[in-house]
């Protein structure tokens, strides 16, 4: 019996078991199918050169062999693991069932932001006492969230021992800047539209814009050949990069400096 089982495993591994699928139980068939999908995913890695193998590719190959439900389960397990790992940094006096529940339910991020987490290490327990005092004995003066504003520089020489929460603060000068920016955009994009990279080209001052498809390939030393690469940060190519167009000439292109 044992030998038969080993034989089945070996045949399964070498892909010779397909003919015996009918004899399998439902659970065995599921297991077999899972093994096959994972094997196929891993086999696809065979065409990847050794030096280009990575955990990400392995991860994708394994995920590719999972059903959507299994994938969700896998992600959930990973999040729970991460949540539990994050509990390592919580001082013992602050461990609670609620935090454990948070970690398991993957709401660790929310709990990290809670006020008491802003204190770290040895001071944390003292801080908890203060917070408790303020909460219970000083009505109306409950704990305020402790956050570091982004504008407040964090000294980089020192390791960050407490969570850092960056928040956007309204910039009083921003409104004026926006106005200037809008004004500039109006004046400069009008000129830059002369080399618009998509849609109908516009003509300005009688100058004919360059057709990106008629671009002349330029060689590589820009400072001598005067070619220019226009990078359009509003458009991405199929491979996720911004779209670039090489122009051999830039008569109407406006540059800032």
């Amino acid at each position: 019996m044992k030998n038969k089982r080993i034989e089945d495993i070996l045949r399964d591994a070498f892909g010779e078991l397909d003919g015996d699928l009918g004899k399998m139980t439902e659970a065995e068939r599921t297991e077999h199918e899972k093994a096959r999908l994972i094997r196929e995913g891993l086999r696809s890695l065979a065409i990847v050169p050794e030096h280009q193998l990575s955990n990400e590719r392995l991860h994708s190959a394994i995920l590719a062999g999972m059903t959507p439900a299994e994938r969700i389960e896998h992600e959930q397990a990973q999040r729970i693991r991460e949540g539990l790992l994050a509990l390592r940094d919580v001082p013992e006096c602050q461990l609670s069932n609620e935090r454990l529940q948070d970690a398991i339910l993957s709401s660790a991020v929310q709990s990290r932001r809670s006020p008491s987490w802003a204190f770290a290490g040895a001071v944390a327990c003292t801080a908890m006492v203060i917070v408790a005092y303020q909460t219970f004995f000083a009505p109306g003066t409950g704990p305020a969230p402790v956050v570091l504003e982004d504008a407040e520089p964090v000294p980089l020489e020192q390791p960050i021992s407490a969570p850092y929460v960056a928040i956007a603060t309204p910039d009083p000068v921003e409104a004026v800047r926006d106005e200037v920016r809008a004004e500039l955009n109006r004046s400069t994009t009008a000129a830059a539209d002369g080399v618009r990279l998509s849609g109908e080209p516009s003509y300005r001052s009688g100058a004919r814009p360059l057709d990106p498809y008629l671009m002349t390939p330029v060689s590589f030393d820009a400072e001598t050949t005067e070619g220019i690469v226009v990078v359009d940060s509003g458009t991405t190519t199929r491979n996720g990069a911004y779209m670039a167009t090489e122009l051999a000439s830039y008569g109407e292109v406006v540059i800032g400096g």
Binding site: V180, T189, A191, A244, I255
Partner: protein, 345 residues
């Protein structure tokens, strides 16, 4: 004696056989310091550790929609160990489209901090690009290409890199030299497929007309043998961005004098298209329509020359600008300021 030599040779051969390829060694050395960024569970980009306190550099396209990222926005990332963690957007630099991220929890001293290479890359040298899927081989083609970022219309020097394949997520990939130092961040790629389709449509008559000569050249030149022509923000600009990002203010100091310019259709020099109000150029009396002919005694013949020249200036210094207005030629001192501080760009 002979047997000793034979044994030594056999040992050497065995050692050579067992030694992993250089690319593998290189990849293993940078992998722990790279994070794969995720959006709704999908991999969208990579970030590299640039400071031991948990500061990471990423291309803006990997963080969210193009443009400036809102400070405080949360991004999820996966470390090489498989552990996922959260990052906060600290700031982003519009001129280069790079973003600074801070890991919410980070143990200093656990991973190697990646630095920008101090050496210029040599053409035709093989590079390692780290994409969302892992390492990818590429080739450095040339440094010093003039780049223009839209919509900010700012000049940025770019390096040209050719990457294997066309399907990988290359946007925001980091490019490393053989020492494992960063030599570029892939910001853009030629729209090879679109170009090919358009050219092919024209060739088959779908687009009407024949195949123009220049377009035929483009078809032959770009995307050879399933490669992608990509442009990386080069070493020079990366050094400036990283220095600014890891400073206490996290601000990048790009030099500017507050003007926009283009080729002078009337001949020599560069035509000033617009001057930002309140900028050093406005204060120095430069107007739209002036033609800049020299900067610091150096003749300026094209907008790229002027942009490259200004790009290499340091914030705080002054430049001597010679310009002509009608028949009159003047020289004025213009202060170089930081684009971030003074112009809000």
């Amino acid at each position: 004696m002979v047997s000793l030599i034979v044994a030594a040779m056999a040992f050497q051969q065995a050692a050579t056989r067992q030694a992993p390829p250089a690319e593998t060694v290189l990849w293993k050395s940078v992998e722990p310091s790279v994070v794969v960024l995720l959006r709704n569970g999908e991999t969208v980009g990579v970030a590299a550790l640039i400071h031991d306190s948990g500061l990471f550099l990423a291309h803006t396209s990997a963080v969210g929609r193009p443009g400036v990222q809102t400070p405080g926005k949360q991004v999820r990332g996966r470390l090489a160990s498989g552990t996922e963690t959260n990052f906060l957007v600290v700031t982003s630099d519009e001129q280069t489209q790079l973003t600074l991220l801070r890991a919410l929890y980070w143990e200093p001293g656990t991973r190697r901090v990646l630095k920008v290479s101090g050496q210029p890359a040599t053409p035709n040298v093989e590079l390692l690009a780290v994409t969302t899927a892992g390492p990818k081989s590429g080739e450095f083609v040339a440094d010093g290409k003039a780049g223009l970022m839209r919509p900010s219309l700012r000049y940025v020097p770019l390096s040209e890199v050719r990457m294997e394949g066309t399907d990988e997520h290359l946007g925001g990939a980091f490019v490393f030299d053989s020492k494992g130092d960063i030599v570029g961040v892939l910001g853009a790629a030629l729209a090879t497929d679109e170009t090919r389709k358009s050219v092919s449509d024209q060739a088959t008559g779908l687009g009407g007309g024949g195949l123009p000569g220049a377009a035929r050249n483009a078809l032959n030149t770009f995307g050879p043998g399933n490669q992608t022509v990509a442009y990386a923000l080069g070493r020079e600009v990366l050094q400036r961005v990283v220095a600014g990002f890891v400073s206490p203010s996290h601000e990048v100091q790009h030099p500017t004098i507050g003007i926009f310019f283009k080729s002078n259709p009337g001949g020599r020099g560069v035509l000033v298209e617009s001057v930002m109000s309140g900028s050093p150029s406005a204060i120095a009396g430069i107007h739209a329509g002036d033609v800049i002919t020299q900067v610091d005694g150096q003749a300026v013949n094209s907008p790229i020359e002027l942009a490259a020249l200004l790009f290499r200036k340091n914030v705080g210094e002054s430049v001597k600008v010679q310009y002509s207005r009608g028949e009159r030629t003047s020289v004025t001192d213009v202060r170089v300021v930081s684009g971030h501080d003074e112009l809000g760009r």
